[in-house]
Symmetry: C2
Subunit: 263 residues, 2 copies
DNA sequence: TTAATAGTGTCTTTGAGACATTATACT
DNA sequence: AGTATAATGTCTCAAAGACACTATTAA
């Protein structure tokens, strides 16, 4: 406690060790679309517990040593971005990062009381490289394959992932975040593929096209068009970049969302 | 660390004190509607830091001693409910409690690194009693009065409160949670007053009435009606209870939400 | 009697969705 | 040529909102 005395005399009455130790970790649900599938970044654990299991990238919130040798503390979002960069390599640049929620059920980590602050990240499809070039064993995994039995995720990461996927699905409805999954410039069809992949449903191409262009600030024309037509024919498509809207008005509602409302 | 040896040999390699101490608190944004105003439960701090300031009810996540003397740990939501009960007294029964988010910016607590997991609670108007009968100095405060200068909330609680209010406003749109602010049975007009108070906008009574009844599972008729008409005249109103819907389809969108979408 | 409120009816406008059509580009 | 796709047009239906109207109750 001696190193805290300079921040105020009232600290003398405060003893953090009066409580059981509580650790805080930051875990990241990083989603991308690869091979027309929704995929999540997973790392293979190199230590106990759950040694050898796949887990979400993450780690303990920790102090950092700055350039002058001073110790600064990370903001939670910074910690999430750092974990992502360490595990996925520098070629991944997430275009969106938001807090998902915190998970602190007793016993979720057998070592001690651990509160995990989960973040949700969206990234466009990587050009080629596999993640983890400079990191440990990390890879993109189709989310759908994880609902199969056989290799459960470590800790309660399956639950965190499920919450992240559901958050992503909901956010595509009323925010322009689908554009975070594509590289600029993009076509309306590429944007539609994002929706179809995340929602797991085919959308009507014509209606989707007109709808996207009718929402103010969703996308913005670049004036250009693709070099070639589609791989199986068709005209060249116009190119767009992200617009300045932060919310979609009106929203793009999921077709199937009717049923989930009643128990 | 000796008391942890029985959970696995790998624990020997794990030392929580290798990290700086991190504390986890749970804070609650408890909202209700009193006197036609949106109000939040605040407590006056009895210790440093921010001694004498108003703050959100909350406290450290801590182990509890069970009836057999064994030590059990609280789930985060349990901790939030406990804090609420301790500070507001037993007469308050929150009809809704959900996680709002976590706040862990460095320096937000001058004592040490503190991560706060914030919860959002909705409660119906209390019959009479003021909170804090058995607790410390606690009171309901109009949210609007807190934007005035002069008595800022402790820590970053103003920010947490703002996030909670915005979450509440958004949730009224697509969930039936407005019913969490009223006692059953309730009238459509009482429900409309909830919307008008939280959103800060007058709604069209006739259209609102028809709209609420047209959403499946929002409310359910009790068959009864009020004993008397309104205080200034009018017929007696039919009574309703909460329906079984968890999401509103179609949603009740805010009138003004157009503008906030563009920067 | 006057005023306020509950509840319903009607009309207009907007948007979602089904479907059709035209133009373009690949095989 | 045949096929697939981009982009637009048309039609129908659902829903939001403005407004009107009746019935009921308190002051």
């Amino acid at each position: 406690m001696d190193d805290m005395n300079d921040t105020g005399s009232f600290l003398a009455a405060y003893d953090p060790r009066a409580y059981d130790p509580v650790a805080v970790t930051v875990d990241v649900v990083a989603l991308t679309i690869r091979d027309a599938e929704l995929q999540v970044l997973l790392v293979r654990r190199g230590e106990q517990p759950y040694l050898g299991s796949w887990a979400l990238p993450g780690g303990f919130v920790r102090p950092r040593t700055g350039p002058e040798g001073e110790r600064t503390e990370e903001d939670l979002a910074q910690a999430a971005a750092r974990e992502l960069a360490e595990e996925a390599g520098p070629q991944l640049r997430a275009t969106h990062l938001e807090q998902l929620g915190s998970y602190g059920a007793p016993g979720r980590d057998p070592r001690m009381r651990v509160i995990s602050v989960a973040y949700l990240a969206f990234a466009p499809e990587l050009p080629e490289a596999t993640p983890g070039t400079d990191a440990a064993d990390a890879r993109w995994t189709p989310v759908a394959s994880l609902s199969l039995p056989g290799r459960p995720l470590a800790f309660d990461h399956a639950r965190i992932l499920a919450d992240g996927v559901e958050r992503a699905r909901a956010k595509l409805e009323y925010t322009p975040l689908a554009t975070a999954f594509v590289r600029e410039p993009f076509t309306i069809s590429e944007l539609r593929e994002v929706y179809e992949t995340v929602w797991g449903e085919k959308l009507h191409p014509g209606n989707f096209h007109r709808k996207v262009l009718s929402v103010p600030g969703f996308v913005e024309s670049t004036g250009g068009q693709t070099e070639t037509g589609g791989p199986r024919g068709g005209p060249r498509a116009k190119l767009y970049r992200r617009g300045d809207a932060t919310l979609l008005h009106p929203a793009l509602l999921r077709p199937a969302s009717e049923e989930a409302a009643r128990p």
